[in-house]
């Protein structure tokens, strides 16, 4: 079966999953993931907010080597394939940092439209497929 790397940060397995952030009732600052106090006004009126699924790519890079533990991918230097990482602006609500399904610098463009997706990441010790969030060109 499939399970999410971090079940608490998205509405997966909804068909159109959304990331779960929080929004400040006083100053409307939005965070991802959720947090109890507002990082802008320090207030405690934070409530859960489902984040938009679509956005634009503000900035990006590639990850060209295996991250150190506790990275969960489990690849070796030989099997590792570089992946993209980007800062994505979801509508005018928030910018979220996440993996990109595209890793070719020739195909990654500043300002390109992207959409949230859930992708297979690794298979855990129980044989379950662990999925994680990423942004794909839309």
């Amino acid at each position: 079966m499939q399970k999410a790397l971090a079940p608490e940060i998205s509405t997966w397995p909804d068909e159109q999953p959304q990331l779960i952030g929080s929004r400040c009732g006083d100053c409307s600052a939005t965070t991802f993931p959720t947090q109890a106090l507002c990082p802008r006004c320090s207030g405690d009126k934070m409530s859960d907010e489902l984040l938009p699924r679509r956005g634009t790519l503000i900035a990006w890079t590639t990850q060209g080597f295996v991250p150190k533990l506790p990275y969960a991918g489990g690849e070796t230097a030989e099997t590792f394939k570089p992946f993209g990482v980007g800062l994505v602006q979801l509508d005018d609500v928030i910018r979220v940092e996440g993996r990109l399904t595209e890793s070719d610098p020739e195909k990654l463009k500043f300002g390109m439209d992207v959409e949230l997706t859930m992708v297979p990441f690794y298979t855990d010790a129980d044989g379950d497929e662990v999925i994680t969030f990423a942004f794909a060109p839309a």
């Binding site: 940060i9 150190k68 990275y71 979220v96 993996r99 994680t132």
Partner: protein, 380 residues
């Protein structure tokens, strides 16, 4: 409040050694004492900085158990700046007249790592492969190059310059010149940053002895005045290393605020600075920090670097000792290495690396996780 003078500096070479971090620190202290012409018994208090060593004050076991107050600090890449600030402010406030700031570290090979919970980050952030400091530097550099018309070759020019400066710095870790082609052709770690555009964690120690400015001439004919050290953390709006998200409305990086505050406290502007030390965790960071500290406008670096402005012989000499790229980053010592180089430059003792024209003002900046920056201003 008292003014503060640096009367002695000492640095153990950076690199990889058989000695313990504590021994590196003890060596740096001995060099600083000799440079200042004082004995350990003259030191009234100490501040020690380290990542790997939980209690750098244990260095007193090697240099003298004199019973002085000794405070240990850790502030990631700003650790040495915190040690410098605490040492200087203790003298400014009149508690003691003469003290020492020392930084020492000995890191294993490869990028820094710690459990994400140590930085208040969720475990998934690391498990997902985002808890990689170099990744942030790649994102920031890529965007900056794109927005301000700077070429990837300019990244290579910065790294090549710092390796070249390392060749003429006997204390440097990397002492081999690398061509722009070798730098551009090395493995891509985080686009557009290649392997040789990054510094690496290593080992080293550095120390500075400070005193009340009005008694500095008892010890030296060339006191260097520590005009300001200011530390700032990120504000809401800044996208910094180890961020799960950023707001849509942007604020500038903490380096901008730290540099402004340091210049204001010193009563000096960026245009007055003769020799500059910037945090070049990677070549992109050096380029970006030039503008964040106020030494040029965004985008001007392309032309300045092509003209050689940041070379030792240029109008804006940056990282004359090779910076982090040639020296590596023993976190606790790195900011004190910067100050060591500035003191040598301002005294006219930098040998082959000496900036011409009797430099009078030096500036140092550090930046690191989780969005913490410090700026220091020194003058003759």
């Amino acid at each position: 409040m008292n003014d503060v003078a640096i009367i002695g500096v000492g640095l153990h070479p950076f690199g990889r050694f058989e000695k313990s971090a504590m021994e590196l620190g003890a060596d740096a202290i001995q060099l600083a004492l000799k440079d200042a012409g004082v004995g350990w018994k003259d030191i009234q208090f100490g501040v020690g900085g380290s990542l790997e060593i939980a209690n750098p004050d244990a260095v007193t076991r090697l240099v003298g158990l004199t019973g002085i107050p000794f405070t240990d600090v850790f502030n990631a890449c700003a650790t040495a700046a915190s040690a410098i600030q605490l040492c200087a402010d203790t003298i400014r406030l009149g508690k003691y007249d003469i003290g020492i700031a020392v930084g020492l570290d000995k890191h294993p090979r490869g990028a820094f790592t710690a459990h994400p919970s140590m930085l208040g980050l969720p475990a998934w952030y690391a498990e997902n492969g985002q808890y990689v400091t170099t990744q942030f530097f790649g994102i920031k550099a890529n965007r900056y190059l794109h927005e301000h018309g700077i070429s990837q070759r300019t990244l290579a020019k910065v790294a090549a310059k710092n390796y070249r400066n390392g060749v003429i710095n006997p204390n440097a870790f990397r002492r081999k010149a690398l061509s722009e082609e070798e730098i551009l052709g090395s493995p891509m770690l985080n686009y557009p940053l290649t392997h040789y555009m990054f510094c690496s964690p290593d080992e080293g120690a550095a120390a500075a002895i400070m005193c009340r400015a009005d008694i500095a001439h008892r010890f030296t004919s060339q006191p260097i005045y520590l005009r300001a050290t200011e530390i700032r953390t990120r504000r809401f709006g800044a996208y910094e290393v180890h961020s799960t998200f950023a707001p849509v409305d942007e604020d500038v990086a903490p380096t901008v605020y730290a540099a402004r505050a340091a210049f204001e406290a010193a009563g000096i502007g960026p245009g007055d600075v003769d020799v500059i030390q910037l945090q070049d965790t990677d070549a992109g960071a050096e380029i970006i920090h030039m503008a964040e500290c106020g030494f040029c406008a965004d985008g001007e670096q392309e032309k300045l670097i092509a003209e050689g402005a940041t070379e030792i012989s240029g109008s804006l000499p940056v990282n004359t000792d090779g910076g982090l790229i040639a020296n590596g980053e023993p976190i606790g010592a790195s900011g004190l290495r910067q100050v060591h180089e500035l003191v040598r430059q301002l005294r006219g003792q930098a040998g082959d690396r000496q900036v011409a024209g009797n430099p009078r003002v030096g500036f140092a900046q550090v930046y690191g996780a989780p969005g913490t920056a410090a700026a220091t201003v020194l003058t003759v």
